[in-house]
């Protein structure tokens, strides 16, 4: 249904109550008038019938027909009386008169009743009235049989039929009049309502017109309200005010848009400059992989002009295998939507090969569909060259360190072993002295070499900590065993203090930590003439504070800031190498730095020095086994352990092998030497051996580990052995972690090897 406009609605709202009211009132008026008319007819009829009954009393009593005729005639003069009947006491009609044209010809005697009409329909009303003798009080005293009591005697009755013609005519008149009046009132009301509705709605309609034009963009239009309705005037002025504000806001908005647009243009210009001046090549590709944009760097890089590049696919220009790869990558971005990074080599201007790092990025429209792909190429030719050079240098350094590590240690190890062997021979006192000097010199040399290698490894970042859980108790046992002889010798007290409660462990690289402690404690012993050394570990939360106290000469303030520098030595201007290289504290500091331990030093000259560092610690779990033996068997136990054993030594360096063989045989063992794994395999498989001492790097195809595995398989049982290696690289250490056999790093002496074997395989006879 179409909704009504405001005018019709106002009209309806005004008219409906008026129409309803008018109809209701006119109805009420008509019906009340009708009721009045009917009441009046009934009343008049009753009056007339009563009057006739009364007036005809004597005529009926006296049976006076003439008199009765007069009475009836007087009633019949009434216009609306159709018929009159008078009955005697026995209800026999005495007289009956009617208008012949109207009378209904009924007797009405069937139901004579005074209380209600005898008969009534829309046209006639018939009333009945008994004629009763008028009562006159004669005597109060009784003159005979009292017949006065009881109902008054009926003399007869009258019946009158009234016509409702007049009443109906009057009703029609009233109806017509009322309808005419109703229509007049309604017409007036409609006219008035129309006028009022127009008066109210016209301004509103005008305003809505203006509003529509305003909405269409005519912001200058305003309402000119002539209405005398205050609310409408208020509305129009409110609208005008709003229009003004909107216009202002529109102006401001336009200004802002202009500002932003210019800013955007400037920004775009900036970016354009950037893109056009960047050394990176930028190109945009459509779905057919055709270039739709290229920046100047791209043009400069290729040997052609922009016209040859634009609209071409990479395979069309410049073509070639790389272009095919490039185009495939673009298609891949279009199909997958993921960005792609790759390197590509081109033949640039002048025939020089160019290596580009290329990033392909999908460009999407607002609905997320990929419309183009942006390719940014960065020239990494120089970068690649530098990188290759760097890798080459790195490799050289590694090779040098490995060579130094292996090749320098190899003869040193041999020398050590020979010295060991020599000690076991019968020597003169002088020879003994010389050997002990030689041993000392070798030890110094060994230490210097280790220090130098350590420094170089640290510098090269080649040392990576290999973490294990080390029980504190084991560490301090090692300290006790290692340094007690030296302190005893200098008559210094060595005091150790560490938490005994619980199995406390530190997670650290034991080798590095030992070297640090070795450096610190050795220094303390070296610079303390009397008093003692205190090595302590104290728990500080989940960390352990290691301190090395001494009562030595101390370090003055001018030096204390430099003691951790490379080759820094106090009071050694003549560079006495028996006092070391001045690398100990440097190595300690660098080593600790590897597992976040920061070393500090406090000292008072003439009183002593303390070095301290923190390490994280934990309560040792049962399954965590300490690694590395720190206790060495005493010489007699070593001999006891080795005596009578069959030991196979596989070592490609014959010098080292013979030195080792000499020591072991002098301790009572039966030693067989092989210089290659293959050779050892062929013989050793037939002859059972108690222990195998195997070098890791062997001349043949098999290394030490491979050999042990092979022979285990051949003998079909696990063999007991130890692997000795000059390789200290991290990769090697990682491989050895999974080994079934213990690994020892060169240089090692015989005591260390026997101790390790006895720990691993126990005392077996």
């Amino acid at each position: 249904m179409k909704p009504f406009g405001i005018e019709k609605q106002v009209l309806l709202v005004t008219l409906i109550p008026i129409v309803l009211m008018t109809i209701l009132l006119s109805n009420y008026f008509i019906f009340s008038r009708y009721a009045d008319l009917e009441d009046a007819l009934v009343e008049r009829s009753q009056l007339l019938v009563k009057q006739l009954a009364s007036s005809s009393e004597y005529a009926v009593f006296s049976n006076n027909g003439e008199l009765l005729q007069q009475e009836v005639d007087s009633v019949m003069t009434q216009q609306d009386v159709n018929r009159v009947m008078v009955l005697d006491a026995s209800l026999k009609p005495v007289i009956e008169k009617s208008r012949p044209e109207l009378a209904r010809g009924e007797s009405y005697l069937r139901s004579a009743n005074e209380s209600k009409p005898v008969y009534e329909d829309s046209n006639v009303l018939v009333l009945y009235k008994t004629i009763v003798a008028t009562q006159v009080k004669l005597n109060e005293l009784d003159f005979g049989n009292n017949v006065n009591s009881g109902p008054a005697k009926s003399l007869g009755a009258v019946i009158i039929e009234f016509s409702k013609r007049t009443q109906i005519r009057k009703k029609h008149q009233i109806l017509a009049l009322t309808l005419a009046l109703t229509f007049m009132i309604l017409a007036a009301a409609i006219a008035l309502a129309l006028w009022a509705a127009r008066k109210i709605t016209r301004p509103i309609l005008e305003m809505s017109q203006v509003l529509k034009r305003f909405g269409d963009g005519d912001l200058d239009i305003r309402v000119l309200m002539q209405s005398n309705i205050p609310e409408l005037r208020l509305l129009s002025s409110g609208f005008n005010l709003m229009a003004n504000k909107l216009q202002n806001h529109q102006q401001i908005l336009e200004n802002t848009v202009a500002e932003r647009t210019s800013a955007l243009l400037a920004s775009e210009q900036e970016y354009r400059t950037l893109i056009e001046n960047t050394p990176d090549t930028i190109a945009r590709y459509d779905k057919d992989c055709r270039r739709i944009y290229i920046n100047p760097a791209f043009i400069a890089l290729s040997r052609s002009g922009a016209n040859e590049l634009l609209g071409k696919r990479p395979t069309e220009y410049p073509g070639g295998t790389n272009s095919e790869i490039y185009e495939t990558k673009i298609q891949e971005v279009f199909s997958t939507g993921t960005n792609v990074l790759f390197e590509l080599r081109w033949l640039g201007t002048g025939g020089k090969e160019i290596c580009s790092h290329i990033q392909l990025t999908a460009e999407r429209d607002l609905s997320g569909n990929i419309v183009s792909v942006l390719g940014v190429g960065h020239d990494i030719t120089e970068l690649n060259e530098t990188r290759i050079e760097l890798q080459r240098k790195e490799l050289a350094k590694s090779r040098f360190l490995a060579a130094a590590g292996h090749d320098l240690r190899q003869p040193l190890a041999a020398a050590n072993l020979f010295i060991d062997a020599l000690k076991l021979t019968a020597l003169s006192e002088k020879q003994n002295l010389l050997i002990s000097r030689l041993d000392q010199a070798m030890t110094n040399f060994n230490g210097l070499l280790s220090a130098l290698l350590d420094v170089s490894k640290l510098d090269g970042g080649m040392i990576k900590p290999e973490y294990t859980f080390v029980p504190i108790v084991d560490l301090f046992s090692w300290i006790d065993q290692t340094f007690t002889p030296a302190t005893n010798k200098k008559q210094l007290r060595l005091k150790l203090h560490f938490p005994m409660k619980g199995a406390l462990a530190i997670r650290t690289d034991i080798g590095l930590l030992k070297s640090v402690l070795m450096n610190l404690i050795s220094n303390s012993i070296k610079f303390t003439a009397k008093g003692g050394i205190l090595v302590s570990a104290r728990r500080r939360g989940d960390q352990l504070l290691f301190q090395v106290w001494d009562t030595g000469i101390g370090i003055s303030n001018e030096h204390i800031n430099n003691i951790f520098d490379e080759f820094y030595q106090i009071n050694n201007p003549q560079r006495d190498r028996t006092q070391g290289l001045g690398l100990g504290l440097y190595i300690a500091k660098r080593s600790l730095a590897l597992f976040d331990g920061n070393i500090r030093c406090h000292s008072i000259v003439g009183q002593g020095t303390v070095f301290e560092f923190h390490l994280s610690c934990t309560d040792l779990l049962n399954e965590v086994q300490p690694t590395g033996a720190v206790l060495l068997l005493d010489p007699n136990a070593q001999i006891e352990f080795v005596r009578g054993k069959n030991i196979v030594v596989v070592e490609d360096d014959l010098l080292v092998a013979e030195a080792l063989c000499g020591v072991l045989e002098s301790m009572g063992a039966n030693v067989k030497i092989f210089t290659s794994a293959e050779e050892a395999l062929s013989v050793a498989s037939s002859e059972p051996a108690d222990f195998f001492i195997v070098d890791y790097m062997l001349g043949g195809k098999l290394n030490g580990m491979g050999f042990l595995k092979e022979i285990s398989q051949t003998l079909n049982k696990p063999v007991k052995g130890i692997i000795v290696s000059g390789d200290t690289s991290t990769a090697f250490a990682r491989e050895m972690n999974n080994s079934d056999w213990s690994v020892m790093h060169k240089p090692v002496n015989v005591s260390q090897i026997i101790t390790r074997l006895s720990e691993r395989y126990g005392w077996q006879r």
Binding site: F61, S62, N63, K137, L138, L141, D142, F143, G144, K153
Partner: protein
């Protein structure tokens, strides 16, 4: 609880009723003079209202002044079986006639009614028996009124239903005064309107009403009056009510006059203990409706003159 309360209320009402009865009866006795003789007069009223009560009061006053003790009861109360009983009205008289009362004096009762009672209760004829002071006037007195008020008119119309002693007397009396009775009987064959019509169309010059309730009653009197009036014939009634209703005149005795006569009779009875025979009222009144007379175009004497003339005429009769 409400039942209890109701019972209590009922009890209270009963108590008050008894108390009231006590007081009322004591009041009745209080009317008796303190030094009165034996209370041997009981006035029995037909009803305690209107003229009967007025009569009772008047009689009571008169008896009190005569120092005769009495009591007034109504017909519904138990009737004493000793002393003189005064039956006031036909209802009381009928009740007394049937009672064990030794002496009964009926008042305010017509001669016809009294005689009917004697006929119905034959035992009452023996002395002291039952006597009466009639309510209606003697035939003589009525005829005297006719001659006094309408001298020169000789035809007296009479309507009757039954032939009574009174009608016979009337015949006798009329004859003595050289008058003529024009009679019409009302019965099944001739209704009242027909009889009246017949009478009025005849030679009657007046209609003399005799007490007969079947003819003259409250319902018929208006039409009878209208009929006579239309014929220019005056109606002569027998009570004040007739004159008021439109009769030309009437001779009658007031209850007070009869009460005085009764009192005298009681005094006499107290002396003799013998009841006199029934008698007509001694005192009477005449009433004339001058308006009716004027309407009928009659020149009539005033009531006092007529009274005197009647009295004189009756005195003259030997």
């Amino acid at each position: 609880m409400s039942v209890v309360r109701f019972a209590g209320k009922a009890c209270r009402v009963a108590k008050w009723g008894l108390l009231l009865l006590f007081f009322s009866s004591s009041f009745a006795y209080a009317n008796s003079p303190p030094n009165a003789k034996q209370s041997n007069v009981t006035v029995v009223l037909s009803e305690r209202s209107g003229l009967y009560e007025e009569f009772g009061d008047t009689l009571g006053r008169l008896l009190s002044s005569a120092k005769i003790s009495y009591q007034i009861i109504d017909a519904s109360q138990p009737i004493p079986d000793s002393g003189l009983l005064i039956g006031v009205g036909i209802k009381a008289a009928t009740a007394l006639a049937g009672s064990d009362a030794p002496a009964v004096l009926n008042v305010l009762i017509t001669k016809t009614s009294h005689e009917k009672l004697l006929h119905d209760f034959p035992g009452r004829t023996a002395p002291p028996g039952m006597s009466a002071i009639y309510l209606n006037q003697s035939v003589e007195r009525q005829v005297e009124l006719v001659t006094a008020i309408l001298p020169g008119k000789h035809n007296i119309g009479i309507l009757y239903t039954h032939v009574t002693k009174e009608l016979d007397e009337m015949h006798q009396e009329v004859k003595e005064h050289s008058l003529k009775l024009q009679e019409q009987k009302v019965d099944q064959s001739q209704t009242l309107p027909e009889a009246l019509q017949e009478l009025l169309l005849g030679r009657s010059e007046m209609l003399l009403a005799l007490p007969d309730a079947e003819i003259y009653n409250d319902s018929t009197i208006r039409n009878i009056l209208l009929a006579t009036y239309r014929r220019g014939i005056p109606l002569i009634g027998y009570s004040a009510g007739y004159v008021k209703a439109g009769a030309l005149c009437a001779v009658f005795s007031t209850p007070n006059q009869i009460a005085a006569q009764t009192a005298k009779l009681i005094v006499k009875f107290n002396g003799t203990h013998i009841l006199p025979p029934p008698e007509y009222p001694q005192e009477f009144e005449v009433k004339v409706n001058t308006q009716v007379a004027a309407s009928l175009g009659l020149q009539v004497k005033d009531a006092a003159t007529l009274h005197d003339e009647i009295e004189q005429a009756l005195k003259d009769i030997p």
